[in-house]
Amino acid sequence: MRSSSAAAAPAKRRAPARVLPGFKITLGYTLMYLCLIVLIPLSALVFKTFTLTWDQFWAAVTGPRVMASYRLTFGASLIAALVNVVFGLLVAWVLVRYQFFGKKVVDALVDLPFALPTAVAGISLTALLAGNGWVGQYLEPMGIQLAFNPNGIVIALIFIGLPFVVRTVQPVLEDAEKELEEAATCLGASRWQTFTRVIFPSIAPALLTGFAMAFARGMGEYGSVIFIAGNMPMISEITPLIIIGKLEQYDYAGATAVATVMLVISFILLLVINGLQTWQRRHSGAPV
């Protein structure tokens, strides 16, 4: 640590903000570890893709089975994220605004999908929804099949994505100024008008961020989905499973090509989420 405090001495002259020692060592370590664990391995994927010709790449990423898997993964993530927006907002609202017995337990339980391993979630949802499961046995006679088809994928992704929406909306609702609502009420707004015109605009950025996070997580999710999906080619095969399938046939080039497409999608989603978060910060900071 002595060396780092010595290193801070010249920095002190440049900018008064850097009184604290340890800038160089922590930044250096962060960059090195980031490169070793994340950036160099990810660049291996990109370089491997460049060894393919364009035609090979295009054939690998636009095969009919692969295209079907994109549609499925995208569609299921979208539906699940939309359901999560509705119920996530409801859960966040109830947890912030109302008092009821067992609220702290419910609040803690919302994080369960973060803590429960995805494979466990997958087999347990499958056991519930299969024809002989606790829930499945009542739905099957009604002709509703939720396991081993795309419906199951949506259910698994709702489970996985729920805490993202709740945990991004909750703090914003907590910080919302009650004075604005009081003013709206005083000016004669109904409670519903107050919600749609005053409260909703203030939480919309957070809601959108939560939606994007749940969607991004759904696009990449593997563990919880493969047990419940049934994994039929063209019908219920998600994109990560396509990669695994290609790997098992030693088709490294094909797996890499599809993985690159997924990586690009996750990059775009990451940038969108970052932009949304910046917007949210500005949005909440502006009126104060």
């Binding site: 002595r2 020692p21 922590t26 391995p41 973060f114 803590a115 391993p117 563990g223």
Partner: protein, 305 residues
């Protein structure tokens, strides 16, 4: 809180009772269906053939070696990411520099990469046809389909957890206390240990516990690099998958129940850490103003001595 004037005032900013109860009801039913039932199903399925069959499934040597491998993986991955998380949070939260937002985004990157892709990149690096594959084979080092690969994939997937938890916390707390400590003659290490660490300890515990839960439960990334060799490179989630696919439902859910217990313990520790942190924040908020000003001074004196 229940004086009639306040109650009338609150009526303007809340809903009618029936709306409230309906919303609470829908929420509880939804959470029961989506969170409580799956959790309960794990334990119910594990116990379906009685407690003896449950114990029997856990005593099996393959299950036991999967548990050991999972523990070893977490024991390596969590400390690595802990050191990184603290270093990254320190340099991102305490300083202003060019490219800071890019660095923050890159730290978050592993969150948005699909676990399967995360596993694949290590196969491309260290697999037989990978960059270092031939070299590793020459020196008889196995990374892919062996323990090092599993650890690497786990480190990748759990990479941002602790940093993500600490960065906003340390940013919110600012630099004043640390600056005071330095001015009073504390070394950098003393400042971190006596001033910063007590302030961030609950956030740190929360980050570590979440990182640990994910490290022990990671499935997608590990399944790509492990090779599924029973008794050797099977972690607990992979063992659950194999048993489940072999229709050994009770054994699969028995191992899964251990992971579910881990999740429950994680949630309990997380809640306790949150409540303690809130209480400390409230305690600081309740101090009369002159004491708030004195508090950082006190801390820095302690750090200097």
């Amino acid at each position: 809180m229940s004086s009639p004037i306040i109650r009338r005032a609150e009526a303007g900013t809340t809903e009618a009772a029936w709306v409230r109860y309906t919303l609470i009801g829908i929420t509880l039913v939804f959470l029961f269906l989506f969170l409580v039932l799956p959790l309960a199903a794990v334990f119910a399925e594990a116990m379906r053939k009685g407690f003896d069959a449950y114990c029997e499934a856990l005593k099996e040597p393959d299950a036991w070696s999967a548990i050991c491998l999972t523990l070893i993986t977490a024991l390596i991955a969590v400390p690595l990411n802990l050191v990184f998380g603290v270093a990254a949070a320190w340099c991102i939260a305490k300083y202003e520099f060019k490219g800071k937002s890019v660095l923050t985004t890159l730290v978050d990157l592993p969150f948005s990469v699909s676990p399967v892709v995360a596993g694949l990149v290590y196969v491309l690096m260290f697999g037989a046809q990978g960059w270092f594959g031939p070299w590793l084979q020459e020196h008889d080092v196995k990374v892919i389909f062996a323990v090092p690969g599993i650890v690497l994939a786990t480190v990748f997937v759990t990479f941002p957890f602790i940093a993500r938890e600490l960065i906003p916390l340390m940013q919110a707390q600012g630099n004043e206390e640390e600056q005071a400590a330095i001015v009073l003659g504390a070394t950098g290490w003393q400042t971190f240990w006596y001033v910063t660490l007590p302030n961030i300890k609950w956030g740190l515990i929360y980050g570590v516990i979440l990182c640990n839960a994910r490290a022990m439960g990671e499935f997608g990334a590990v399944s790509v690099v492990s090779g599924h060799i029973r008794g050797q490179t099977n972690t607990m989630p992979l063992h659950v998958e194999i048993l489940y696919n072999e229709y050994q439902s009770v054994a699969a859910f028995a191992v899964a129940s251990l992971l579910a217990l881990l999740a429950l313990v994680t949630l309990v520790i997380k809640s306790v850490a949150e409540w303690r942190h809130e209480r400390e924040m409230k305690a600081i908020g309740n101090l009369p103003p002159e004491n708030i000003k004195a508090a950082p001074l006190d801390l820095s004196l302690k750090a200097a001595s």
